[in-house]
Amino acid sequence: MTQLSRRELLRSAVLAGVALPVLSACASPVSNGGASSAPAAGATSAANPLGFAADKPLEIWVFDGGFGDGYAKDIHEPLIKAKHPTLEIKHNATKEIAKTLQPRFAGGNPPEFINNSGANAMDFGALVQDGQLADLTPLYDAPSWDDPAVKVRDTIDPAAIAFGSYDGKPYVLNYANTVWGIWYSQKLFDDEGWQVPKTWAEFTALCETIKKAGKTAPFTYAGKHPFYIYEAILTLAAKIGGKDVLKNIDNLEDGAWKAEPVKQAATAFAELGAKYLLQGTAGLDHIQTQTAHNKGQVAMLPCGSWLENEQKDSTPADFGYAVFPLPDFGPSDALPYGTMHIQPGEEYIVPAKSGNPRAGLEYMRAMLSKEGAGKFMELVSTLTVVKGAGEGQTLKPGLKSASTALTAAGDNAVWFLFRKWYVDMHDEVAAASGQLMSGKLTVDEWMERAQKKADSIKSDSSVKKFTR
């Protein structure tokens, strides 16, 4: 039996000291340095225009959220497999994108394709800032899946490319398309003889009528998630003052939140909040308010075009979801009636430092085919950024109404990007907007809060700034 000598004890202590940094490296980033952009292509051909490596696997991670992961498994993966039978596809799905995949980025071996979506998505700004994302320009310049004579770029909504661009470079593919507006039940409106309001005066008059009738509350929003209402405020502000109102806000321009159109829009909604909200709105979440809508307890609410699908289990068969754009505020509005807030969404990325990034791009090319997008639209009931993907499909009333409104809006589509660029600003504006609607903040205080947050982000050197 050997005794443990003092020397041996000391030696093991030193060894333990050496082992520690190795272990802690699991949490700290691996230094492999260097930003990268467009992944280098291998040999290209007509069958493989992006030049991916067919002998390396394609690892796919899909967010298992509202859309599930069936669309990837049953539509897109078979599609690419049919064209490239030798390509090995590793399918994965998770609800926790950041927790699962962030360590892979820090460790330098991210997968080839990620559906970075959901409440636990990774921050796009941080990923772009660090050169982790592949430039999608080769994809958009490649021949499209269906017709080699047409580039991918020309088969999709240009807003989708703008939306996924950071400092002018496309890094993120926004696949689904969302149009925001005020939702109502066609049946309820028909039964009560209510007309869709075209002007703000008609809108408040309608609210007054509904309130007087007493059976239904006029208006509500997801009080626990006040983003749903600041979205409407900003869309109205853009309608009054033009697209630059939102552009200035995104670009953190001095005084952007104190612009007159923003003030008018906030005042209008604060009045709505004071007079016409469903009782208890501030304490209800999106599902609770939307279910109240389905039950006929409230007439109108602002939401995106996923609403019909989200509510499919609690919607009465004859409910007849329909959407109308924000009404004209006044005769001097900068943008015409029918202006809609559109938001290409559901983000997909190809990590630049993955083993086979070009295969990730090829997968995106397959997704953007007519077949891929059309079947996706049919399966998950949402609009996509692929032009004409819905042709020949029978759409549910809400989706049809949204699709019509989207087409009618045409170039009068507005959007803002700070929600994605500066998440903390989004949270602050949401928090303040909830208080604005419940009357605890005045319009001036609300503008002050938002402006202060914008200014503090502008002066924070650790946050990368984006412009559009």
Binding site: Q129, G283, V423, A430, G434
Partner: protein
């Protein structure tokens, strides 16, 4: 010390100490390092920014609001929990006629009081979301609405939400301390109560002259536990409140701000700086608690 014994001790300590060093000390040390960088979680080479995170933290109104909530909880949550738990424990064990037994039905109540402790904290939070709902489905608001009154925004009114959280925390904690104090009271010799009762002491006197002094040790332990719990309360706030710490930051706590900045804003450097501040708060509290609880033990 002979080597055989030393080896024995080393053998027992090696694994726990190693685990502690790897999973507690090392991450702490790392957090101190990250706090001086602007790391955003995905970068391969974090940039060293000196004390900038701490300077910005000093001017971060939301974080100091969170600190204020934690301090308020640190005072109120142990105080309310201990007072209520003591009261119930006394009633259950010595509150009956003659001061010798519990009140009628005490065995049943003892089980009921422990129920909240059995529920997972996330379950409690979701449960109370429903209890506090501001419409006809809310347990508290439904009667108010039925009476034609305005519903109370338990979780949606910035002036009320914090107190709702405090209420839930106390509700959840009381059961455990009732059991703890019951055990403490049970270990007090019965003849002390009997003697005092024979001498004509009433319920209040029994409580303040006998139960409280003899239970002082147990109460101190409870205070330390609850104090540590009050510096956390992340789960209830995160699951139960709107905007996770809202509305409008009215219920947020330090742990929630750390989580938000790290895992939602991906400002790991900044969040680590918050963690460092929380670390010193915790150390400070522990030192204070140890100092205050240095007191002669009453033998009986």
């Amino acid at each position: 010390m002979n080597y055989g014994r030393m080896r024995f001790v080393t053998g027992f300590l090696a694994i726990p100490v190693a685990l502690y060093v790897i999973y507690v000390i090392a991450p702490y040390a790392q957090a101190f390092y990250i706090a001086f960088t602007d790391w955003r979680g995905v970068s391969a080479s974090p940039r060293f920014v000196g004390t900038e995170n701490f300077r910005r933290l000093a001017g971060d109104g939301i974080f100091w609001e969170a600190v204020g909530h934690n301090l308020l909880l640190l005072i109120l949550m142990p105080l309310l929990t201990l007072v209520i738990a003591l009261f119930f424990a006394f009633l259950l064990n010595a509150g009956g006629r003659g001061g010798t037994g519990g009140i009628w039905g005490s065995k049943f109540y003892r089980v009921v009081f422990f129920f909240p402790q059995v529920l997972a904290i996330a379950v409690v939070a979701v449960l109370f979301q429903q209890v506090f709902r501001p419409d006809r489905s809310g347990m508290l608001n439904a009667p108010l609405i039925a009476l034609g009154l305005e519903p109370v925004g338990f979780l949606s009114d910035t002036d009320i939400a914090f107190w709702s959280i405090l209420g839930v925390l106390v509700w959840q904690a009381v059961g455990f301390y009732v059991v703890l104090f019951s055990a403490g009271i049970a270990s007090i010799p019965r003849d002390m109560f009997e003697a005092a009762a024979i001498d004509g002491a009433g319920g209040a006197q029994l409580f303040f002259r006998i139960t409280l002094p003899l239970l002082w040790d147990t109460i101190q332990v409870g205070w330390v536990y609850l104090g540590i719990a009050a510096l956390d309360v992340f789960a209830v706030v995160w699951v139960m409140t709107a905007e996770q710490g809202g509305p409008d930051h009215s219920t947020t706590v330090m742990a929630a701000e750390i989580y938000r900045n790290a895992f939602q804003y991906f400002k790991f450097g900044y969040a680590s700086a918050m963690g460092v501040v929380l670390f010193f708060f915790t150390i400070g509290f522990a030192a204070l608690a140890l100092r205050l609880s240095r007191r002669e033990r009453i033998e009986f």
